[in-house]
């Protein structure tokens, strides 16, 4: 009896997991399969479920129909810039907040926490006016600065939690040994490397996938990122090129698929530990 019950339980378990996997994988499969279908077959009624013939035509058209390479590069530059800026300035600030008490540090911290609650749309108009006057519209730096709105507070908050966990003993030992405060800070940084890794990955995700600021600040392919460029394809007159859109989506998501394992591991950790 118990054995059958266990068997049933196990089957149900795997069934449930199977359903979950299917719900996650099917849309992704559909996106990918659309990207390798010949363009005419994409618009067939009824839609073809299985991949009968495949072609790389959509990927070719992707590069003809929009400056995909340029857009991809823009995304990469902007994300790297946001990462560089955020990690360096953010972890420094986090260290300062964690180790040193000074007036206003608590206010600074609460401001950081509140920043998550504000809809980014609120920033759009002031940022636009600001950057127009500084001539930063349609530049990579302009978008990087806009991304700092969410990158910096997040990194500061996350790294501060990490630094708080690290005992001060190591830095004090370093200071006693005659190191400068900067050196001591680097000691702490090395200990907090997992935290930096987490912060880097999550920041990478947020900046890579960001859409709204790209929508407002970029104008031409000089700085347009892939998410915005793909959405632009939606509003084409005559025919929405779904083959091109899905092809671009797939290529853009490839780096994320590659990093997938690390991402899911660190997201959970950061949340639970960061309390």
């Amino acid at each position: 009896m118990i054995r059958t019950k266990k068997f049933i339980n196990e089957t149900l378990l795997y069934l449930a997991v199977g359903v979950a996997l299917f719900s996650v994988l099917f849309p992704l499969y559909w996106m990918f399969s659309t990207s390798i279908k010949p363009p005419l077959k994409i618009f067939s009624i009824p839609p073809r479920l299985l991949i009968e013939e495949f072609t790389l035509e959509n990927y070719q058209r992707l590069f003809e129909v929009m400056p995909f390479l340029q857009n991809f590069l823009n995304s990469a530059i902007i994300t790297s810039g946001a990462l560089a800026l955020g990690l360096s300035l953010g972890s420094m600030a986090a260290y300062g907040l964690s180790r040193y008490q000074f007036s206003g540090s608590r206010y600074f911290l609460s401001f950081i926490v509140i920043s998550r609650m504000i809809t980014y749309v609120a920033f759009v108009i002031p940022i636009f006016l600001l950057e127009t006057n500084l001539n930063l519209i349609d530049t990579h730096l302009g978008v990087i600065l806009a991304h700092s709105i969410f990158v910096l507070p997040f990194i500061i908050w996350l790294m501060k939690s990490f630094f708080d966990e690290i005992p001060k003993a190591y830095e004090e030992a370093a200071l006693v040994d005659g190191c400068s405060r900067f050196r001591a800070m680097f000691v702490a940084m090395r200990l907090a490397l997992p935290g930096l890794g987490t912060a880097a990955i999550l920041t990478f995700l947020d900046s890579w996938n960001e859409f709204m600021f790209a929508l407002v600040i970029t104008r031409t392919s000089a700085s347009q990122t892939v998410p915005y460029a793909l959405v632009l394809q939606l509003t084409r007159p005559y025919q929405v090129p779904w083959g091109v859109i899905t092809a671009g989506s797939f290529l853009f998501t490839l780096p994320i698929f590659a990093l997938g394992y690390f991402i899911q591991k660190y997201v959970a950790k950061s949340f639970v530990l960061g309390r």
Binding site: A93, S103, V121, A122, V124, P227
Partner: protein, 295 residues
């Protein structure tokens, strides 16, 4: 310890401030300034079509918005969306986390796969779902028509459109909940379960008296974050799938603020809507905190 005495203390503070300064300067420019400017803007009237000079009008923007039928609908949409999608994500995430907590083969691969939706750009996920929802060529329509004979208009029926957005958003964010809760579950020491078993607890009782209380902290945080995000960050998905339509059926606070500010060019009103969103999100978070303390 002894090093940090006397005038060294002042030097301490100086160094700390030095470390924080660069980040603070940037944040002051891109975060504080816009925020203050927004508040000022929300108390003014400044239109661009037709152009009118910026003038102070106090709280009139706020009053106007709350008495505007469209804004009321948008507010309702945002609250409805939050009220439906957050519990959905929560229960789905919890269910999946509990499932994964058991012994399953290939667990890490499964978790990685299940975590994919939240790693993809929301815009790209939204594009994928829009293609699935397409009334003529979408796979969902075909499937439902073939097997159930129904053809709901996912994108054009005002009664259904919001659910389309909810489904897509839950697909994107339930994995986030799942990961958080799973990590939380992993941290529960097995002794607790064993103690409960010794006491003769059934699995339901174990769940109620061991699992849930241990998860409480993580749960509350996740709930607060998701509620806030559902109210204030729902832009990409709506913009791509329905653009707020049909007939404002899926217009939510963030997209409406964008529309009023940058499509109709009533900058004061747009800023007011953003501030209202912020206040509502703050109220909900405080409410959640209060409720959690009460228990």
């Amino acid at each position: 310890m002894r090093i940090f005495y006397g005038w060294h203390l002042k030097k301490e503070a100086m160094f700390g401030i030095l470390l924080v300064m660069p980040a603070f300067i940037i944040l002051a420019i891109v975060y504080l300034f816009p925020l203050v400017y927004d508040i000022d803007l929300s108390l003014s009237r400044w239109n661009l079509a037709p152009p009118s000079p910026k003038e102070f009008i106090g709280l009139k923007n706020y009053v106007d918005q709350f008495s505007d039928e469209t804004f009321q609908k948008v507010l309702y949409n945002s609250l409805f969306f939050t009220g439906v999608s957050v519990p959905c994500e929560f229960f789905l995430g919890l269910a999946l986390a509990l499932l994964l907590n058991k012994n399953i083969r290939g667990k890490s691969v499964i978790i990685t796969i299940l975590a994919l939706p939240m790693m993809i750009a929301p815009v790209i996920a939204a594009l994928t779902w829009r293609w699935i929802y397409d009334s003529n060529f979408g796979i969902l329509d075909f499937f439902l028509n073939q097997f159930f004979g129904i053809r709901p208009l996912w994108l054009s029926d005002p009664n259904i459109a919001m659910y389309s957005v909810i489904i897509a958003d839950v697909w994107i964010t339930a994995p986030f909940m799942m990961l958080i809760l799973y990590a939380g579950l992993q941290m529960i020491p097995t002794e607790r379960y064993e103690a409960a078993k010794v006491d003769g607890a059934s699995s339901w009782q174990m769940f109620r008296y061991v699992t849930l209380p241990s998860l409480k902290g993580v749960l509350i945080v996740a709930l607060m974050v998701r509620t806030n995000d559902a109210l204030t960050k729902l832009f990409d998905v709506v913009y791509v799938i329905t653009e707020g339509g049909p007939a404002y059926a899926t217009e939510v606070l963030p997209t409406y603020a964008y529309k009023v500010g940058l499509k109709f060019f009533r900058l004061g009103a747009g800023a007011a809507i953003s501030i209202i969103t912020l206040l509502i999100a703050a109220m909900m978070i405080v409410a959640i905190l209060r409720a959690s303390r009460g228990r």
